[in-house]
């Protein structure tokens, strides 16, 4: 009795194991020889990317369209919910020896893989391609994916930071819409006019403006003031956040937060994310890249549009671009590149552009109705194309991802922490705020000394200098 039980148990186990392993294992089937009379088993190409459900849906459509035309290739999508997990998953997959054949990644993050020499450079394949030519792409995006001179990945989009604004809310509150060439002052006044406590409970019900307090969001403001983030975008060795132009931008951003109080407080920001606040009609303006479009289109009855970032001494915005990268370890490089050609070519780029996710990297598609469709929001889609003229980018060196990760923690604390004796900033900008004399010390000590603006530059510099120093010396062949 016991023995038969055991036997049955073992059998059940083995069966369950077989099913499970079949389900979890990737690409375990050996390439089957083509049976006579039937087509060979399709080549499998895995594609890993991150995005919310609305974005991922767009990629699913792209894949079905590709598979319809290429029955011999099957694309397996590996969608990841969060940017951070996407990165962790990629690093573990590379170190585990099972990287996806293709993945989409931002230019600020691809270099750590390029530096480890695990990417298959796509430049040579592009040169041989009959479908795509390098000159068809926006050079600003292509240039961002060069590493040590070689084109590693092919850009899928050329997005930039813009102002999403809620048209219905602007109309209801009688606030004039953003003008094309607006200044910091116009921007600030608009945000102030939108910030309302409508039921008088002491808490703002509508906020004029919101953005994530991160280095990449601060960058365009610093550039607009004539400053810089780093000394050399191609070989960053030092942060430049303590120069006067940068400080002017930081003062402006900080005054928005704690003098004019047009942005959600820390508490409010942590309770509800900016996108949800915007979708619910309780936020006038939101800074983001193109990737918000599919999500906002999916919100019923939301009347919104986009406007360019305001200018100060200069006009500037920051490049947000993702590219298809291929793993050197891929066993299906040709099939994978065919997918890249399809996805970036006219048909694929139009499909994704219609879905709203991208500002196509292919010029002819970006200028086509697929992107500029007047029947789809945002009505002012051309803002994205006009912004390309004043686009600048952040460094794309291998250590940059870590620099940003470190810096963003500090930016957030800096943005939300008011000095113990209240802010020294006032409604009119003044350089009276003392520049920091010494490096070092905790944020709190710096704040006690009244260095609420400089605190950012000092802390960030201190935190990331070691990381920048650890980067290999460039210029060596």
């Amino acid at each position: 009795m016991a023995r038969t039980m055991t036997k049955r148990w073992t059998a059940a186990l083995a069966l369950a194991g077989a099913v499970l392993l079949g389900g979890c294992k990737r690409e375990e089937k050996p390439p089957e020889p083509a049976k006579p009379g039937t087509a060979a088993a399709p080549t499998e190409v895995t594609l890993q990317l991150f995005g919310d459900p609305a974005e991922v849906e767009g990629y699913r459509q792209l894949i079905s369209a590709f598979e319809a035309k290429n029955p011999d290739v099957k694309v397996r999508l590996v969608p990841i919910g969060k940017q951070k997990d996407h990165m962790a998953k990629l690093t573990t997959a590379f170190s585990g020896g099972t990287p996806p054949d293709l993945f989409l990644i931002n230019y600020r993050r691809f270099a750590q893989f390029a530096a480890k020499d695990v990417l298959e450079p796509l430049g040579p394949r592009l040169e041989k391609s009959t479908v795509l030519k390098e000159r068809d792409f926006y050079p600003q995006a292509v240039e961002a994916f060069r590493y040590d001179g070689a084109l590693e990945c092919l850009p899928q989009n050329v997005s930039s930071l813009v102002v999403y604004w809620n048209r219905a809310l602007f109309q209801r509150l009688g606030v004039p819409p953003p003008k094309p060439d607006w200044t910091w002052d116009d921007f600030r006044k608009t945000a102030q006019a939108l910030t309302r406590d409508e039921n008088g409970d002491g808490r703002m019900d509508v906020h004029g403006l919101a953005f994530e307090p991160t280095l990449s969001r601060l960058a365009p403001f610093i550039w607009q003031a004539g400053g810089d983030i780093v000394d050399d975008v191609n070989d960053p060795r030092h942060m430049q956040l303590l120069n006067e132009p940068a400080l002017e931008a930081l003062r402006f951003v900080l005054r928005l937060q704690r003098v004019f109080k047009v942005t959600p407080s820390l508490e409010e920001a942590k309770s509800e994310n900016h996108e949800a606040r915007f979708a619910a009609g309780r936020l006038g303006m939101l800074l983001n890249s193109r990737r918000l479009v599919p999500t906002l289109r999916a919100v019923p009855d939301l009347d919104w549009d986009v406007a360019p970032l305001p200018r100060h001494h200069k006009t500037a915005t920051v490049l947000h671009s993702d590219a298809y990268c291929m793993s050197r370890a891929s066993k299906a490089k040709d099939a994978a590149f065919r997918f890249v050609e399809f996805a970036l070519g006219s048909t694929g780029a139009e499909l994704v552009a219609r879905g709203g996710r991208t500002v196509p990297s292919l010029k002819r598609v970006a200028e086509s109705p697929a992107f500029l469709d007047p029947n789809q929001r945002p009505a002012s889609a051309r803002v994205f194309l006009d912004s390309i003229l004043s686009i600048r980018r952040l460094p794309n060196v291998a250590v940059w991802n870590e620099v940003e990760t470190r810096a963003d923690v500090i930016v957030e604390e800096w943005f939300y922490t008011v000095p113990p004796h209240g802010t020294q900033l006032t409604e009119s900008d003044s350089k009276e705020v003392r520049p920091g004399q010494e490096a070092g010390g905790s944020m709190r000590r710096l704040l006690r000394q009244g260095n609420e603006v400089n605190a950012l530059g000092q802390e960030v510099t201190e935190a990331v200098q070691g990381i920048l120093d650890s980067a290999p010396k460039s210029g060596t062949p």
């Binding site: 962790a88 590379f94 170190s95 508490e267 942590k270 309770s271 509800e272 870590e402 604390e413």
Partner: protein, 291 residues
């Protein structure tokens, strides 16, 4: 595996073979590898390169490492006594009768980590979470403390206190083991509840408590990972960056496996020291009792 009366018992050791082999492969080998890798630069993509004690020197200068180590120790110092005290209290309260209540106490423990973390993320939402709303209803308007470093640390301690099922059940069993006669005797002599607790319950349960404390210190290094990853993401300002999270970030996000291995060994040594200290205290305490 020859059966035989006296040697038969010893032959039973073969039953432990799968366990020992698996343990050697899954824990022993990795631990030794970690010791080796700690002296190399290794990114899992190219071959390891020997760097001597560089990583340990770098650890010495890495403020985030010290923050993470401090956070882990602080967490253990706050969570372990609290968990034990609450579990002991509940075990004494519920050791007779009340299976329903016991089930209720155990229930949060069976909730999977990730669901539990998400649940608390919702509970602790500073404006719309049930906790904030309940506090507002009783007149506490300011719920911003949840976003302070100590608020976040406190919240993480609180959520692990709810998951004390295993400790609770062991203490329950230990209490059941205590001879009822002793309690009756103590009652006859007119000892109050406090006397009974300090003269009978505590001394008799101390060894169990000490072992549980040692185990809980080790466990606390694991239980913090998922909540720190999901709820606080190590923040605000690294206040909840615990050693496992920092090791994960270095190893799996930046592929510094050698550096992360060095940290792993420091973590292991610190744990071992804490456990040894506890057992040593227990032994001293026992010796003094017997003397």
């Amino acid at each position: 595996m020859k059966p035989g009366a006296p040697r038969g018992r010893e032959a039973m050791v073969w039953l432990a073979a799968p366990f020992l082999v698996a343990a050697a492969l899954l824990v022993g080998l990795p631990a030794l590898l970690a010791l080796g890798l700690a002296f190399t630069e290794y990114d899992a993509l190219s071959a390891p390169r020997f760097v001597g004690v560089d990583h340990f020197l770098r650890l010495w200068d890495d403020p985030l490492f010290w923050t993470a180590l401090g956070n882990s120790l602080l967490f253990a110092a706050m969570a372990v006594p609290l968990r034990l005290a609450v579990a002991l209290g509940l075990a004494l309260l519920l050791h007779r009768g009340g299976r329903l209540a016991r089930s209720a106490v155990f229930l949060p423990t069976v909730v999977p980590d990730i669901a539990y973390a998400l649940l608390w993320l919702w509970l602790l939402n500073p404006l719309y979470g049930p906790l904030a709303l309940a506090l507002k209803a009783v007149g506490v308007a300011d719920t911003g403390w949840l976003l302070t470093p100590w608020g976040a640390r406190g919240a993480l301690v609180a959520l692990t206190v709810f998951q004390l099922g295993e400790v609770f059940v062991v203490l329950l069993a230990a209490r059941r083991e205590l001879p009822e006669e002793l309690y009756e005797l103590c009652e006859l002599e007119g000892g109050g509840a406090l006397t009974v607790f300090s003269k009978v319950t505590l001394p008799l349960m101390a060894p169990t408590l000490a072992l549980l404390a040692a185990r809980d210190v080790v466990v606390s290094l694991q239980t913090t990972f998922v909540p720190a990853l999901v709820i606080t993401q190590g923040g605000p300002r690294y206040a909840t960056t615990f050693l496992p999270l920092y090791i994960y970030q270095n190893g799996f996000e930046y592929l510094r496996l050698g550096y992360a291995s060095a940290m792993t060994w420091v973590m292991f040594l610190v744990t071992a020291a804490m456990v040894a200290a506890q057992l040593w205290v227990l032994r001293g305490w026992r010796a003094s009792k017997e003397a």
